[in-house]
């Protein structure tokens, strides 16, 4: 069984590898996976928690809420999925997937438990390092092969394939075809030097990893049975870790909290409003005038005070029933409306009076009558004012309108509107007679120009 020291060696290896070859996101995730092991040991307490037991819940679907790894590293779970997918493709991390039923009555969800299998991790890293070295080594050798030859005199470069026909007759040396000097090896080519340098740098930079790998060779890493481990630990661990690290940028949970807060606030609002209404009702009842003030004790009719309060009270209560918040506006509206009613009633009576006065005529002719009446009143002598052709008369008529408008104002207010409405309704049959139309135009001038156009 691996000791704590061995574990720290393995952890160090993971950390070195992640920091050497991966982005910070990957580093964070890998660190969590290694850290998780320590965490499990710390909380689980059991000595038999296997060394490879860095199992962390990762939801394979985005909707899985208890996406623990995302929760721990403080990244969106989608991003963590990406990181894990890459690491899995690189064989550094293994993911054990299984269907799990999250809650009663829900469909089983495919969930992944990702962990580092240290034995395979070591093998993968070993293989990678070897491959890298051999790749650079091969490149270096190829470049050595192709370094070619150079003429020390004129500096002309020959590729290895070009020199075959440059062999001198004695067969001992290559001769430059330009200056007949003997060629030498082109050993100082920059690419060759660069390659050598690259190999050295690789060795220097992977020194830590190679040392770690050498140390891990001495450790026997026990094999991990994920399913068994999950059966024993997964559930307990979830509960244990719920009070773990502070969560940064965990969108879903904070949002649900906020919604709940809003809901509770809403409820409070309603309750407060209700309480306030109850208080107001009690106050109202307390302030109500006694019965004998509101009604005459003799006849039982409402007194003036009673009428006022009952009107106010009914309108007030009606408003309360209609909508929760009440103020004085509806009351005013009511008063206003009653005024209007009274006004229209009086209007109707006056209209019926005028109708009685000229029972055979319809609205349009009534207008004419009005006009004639006025003309008669204003200019009793000038009968020719009625002829529409003469402009002088028309202007005189106009003046007459203006005057009449001033003098007959109260009547105009009372009669003008109904008369006009009637005239407009009956405009079509009346339009045939030009004289009538002109007369109507004269009459309508008082109201506005539009009326004339409508009639025409």
């Amino acid at each position: 069984m691996a000791t704590a020291e061995d574990k720290s060696v393995l952890r160090l290896l993971v950390q070195h590898v992640s920091r050497a070859f991966y982005d910070s996101k990957f580093v964070v995730v890998l660190d969590q996976l290694t850290h998780q092991d320590m965490c499990v040991r710390a909380c689980g307490g059991e000595g038999r928690v296997v060394l490879t037991g860095t199992v962390t819940v990762v939801g394979v679907f985005r909707r899985v809420k208890d996406d623990e790894l995302a929760h721990r590293v403080g990244m969106p779970s989608k991003e963590v999925q990406k990181v894990i997918a890459k690491l899995e493709a690189d064989r550094l991390v293994k993911v054990h997937r299984r269907n799990e039923i999250q809650r009663e009555g829900q469909r089983p969800m495919n969930k992944g438990y990702c962990y580092i299998d240290y034995s395979s991790f070591c093998n993968v890293v070993k293989w990678r390092i070897t491959t890298m070295r051999s790749a650079i080594d091969n490149k270096l050798r190829n470049e050595l092969d192709n370094q070619g030859y150079i003429c020390p005199n004129c500096g002309k470069y020959y590729a290895p394939l070009d020199v075959l026909h440059l062999l001198d007759p004695s067969g001992t040396a290559f001769i430059c075809e330009v200056c007949r000097h003997e060629l030498i090896n082109n050993e100082n080519a920059e690419s060759v030097q660069g390659s050598k340098d690259r190999l050295q740098r690789l060795m220097a930079q992977t020194r830590w990893i190679i040392e770690d790998l050498q140390k891990t060779d001495e450790i026997t890493i026990p094999k991990l049975n994920v399913q068994q481990w999950l059966a024993e630990h997964a559930v307990a661990k979830l509960e244990l870790d719920s009070d773990g690290l502070a969560i940064a940028g965990e969108g879903s949970t904070s949002q649900s909290n906020r919604v709940q807060i809003e809901l509770s606030l809403d409820q409070d609002d309603a309750q407060v409003k209700k309480a306030r209404e109850q208080v107001a009702d009690a106050q109202r009842q307390h302030n109500a005038l006694p019965e004998w003030h509101l009604r005459s004790t003799i006849s039982g009719d409402l007194t003036s005070l009673g009428a006022a309060t009952s009107g106010g009270a009914t309108s007030g209560t009606a408003a309360v029933h209609a909508n929760g918040s009440t103020d004085r506006k509806p009351e005013q509206n009511e008063l206003y409306a009653s005024d209007l009613d009274r006004y229209y009633a009086s209007l109707n009576t006056s209209a019926s009076e005028s109708a009685n006065r000229t029972p055979e005529t319809d609205g349009d002719e009534e207008d004419d009558d009005d006009f004639e009446e006025i003309e008669f009143m204003e200019y009793p002598a000038s009968g020719g004012g009625r002829t529409p052709a003469s402009t002088a008369d028309a202007s005189a008529g106009l003046n007459g309108h203006a005057k009449r408008g001033r003098e007959e104002d109260p009547r105009g207010v009372r009669n003008g509107r109904p008369a006009k409405q009637a005239r407009v309704e009956d405009a079509a049959p009346a339009a045939a007679a030009a004289a009538a139309a002109a007369a109507a135009a004269n009459a309508a001038e008082e109201d506005d120009e539009d009326d004339f156009e409508e009639v025409a």
């Binding site: 290895p160 020199v163 075959l164 062999l167």
Partner: protein, 170 residues
């Protein structure tokens, strides 16, 4: 690598050969024309195996020669990069050594000889020598091609013996 390949060759035959032995003449001329030649596409044509079709002779206007488009089957040798071949050393110098694989000239640079083998100019024949092996003229060497260059009439190759199972063969 060697291949058996069906190829075409156009032969112009002088009118003096027209007659009963015309086909023999054509075959002789075909052998003489194509064997030992080299093309970039097929490599060296080593030998004509048989003539499949001599073709119909068309007398060209003006000079009276007949043109035969012959179809024949031949063995071709095309060297490939990475191919391992057995060769005979032809010359050794301080830059490396030359070896022949049939018609193919191969140069093995001193860099591509195993570091144990040092050039020895003091010996009677210039050679690369290690503790137990000597590469000198006429030594049989197994080598691997690392590059080829095809000219109009010739193919050059460079080879290496700096890998496992390459080098002197007894």
């Amino acid at each position: 690598m060697f291949f058996v390949k069906d190829l075409h060759h156009t032969i112009l035959l002088h009118p003096s050969y027209f007659g009963s032995r015309m086909h023999q003449h054509i075959e002789q001329k075909l052998h003489a024309d194509v064997e030992g030649t080299c093309s970039g596409e097929y490599g060296y044509i080593i030998a004509v195996l048989d003539v499949i079709d001599v073709g119909v002779g068309l007398v060209s206007v003006g000079n009276g020669q007949a043109e035969f488009v012959t179809t024949y089957r031949a063995i071709v040798f095309k060297p490939f990069k990475g191919e391992v071949l057995d060769s005979v050393v032809t010359s050794v110098n301080k830059m490396g050594f030359f070896a022949e694989v049939g018609p193919l000239q191969v140069f093995v640079s001193a860099h591509l000889v195993h570091p144990d083998m040092k050039y020895d100019s003091a010996a009677a024949n210039a050679c690369f020598a290690s503790a137990d092996q000597v590469i000198e003229k006429d030594t049989h060497v197994r080598l691997k091609l690392v590059g080829t260059r095809v000219d109009a009439t010739e193919i050059f190759a460079i080879g290496t013996i700096k890998e496992d199972h390459l080098g002197v063969i007894d």
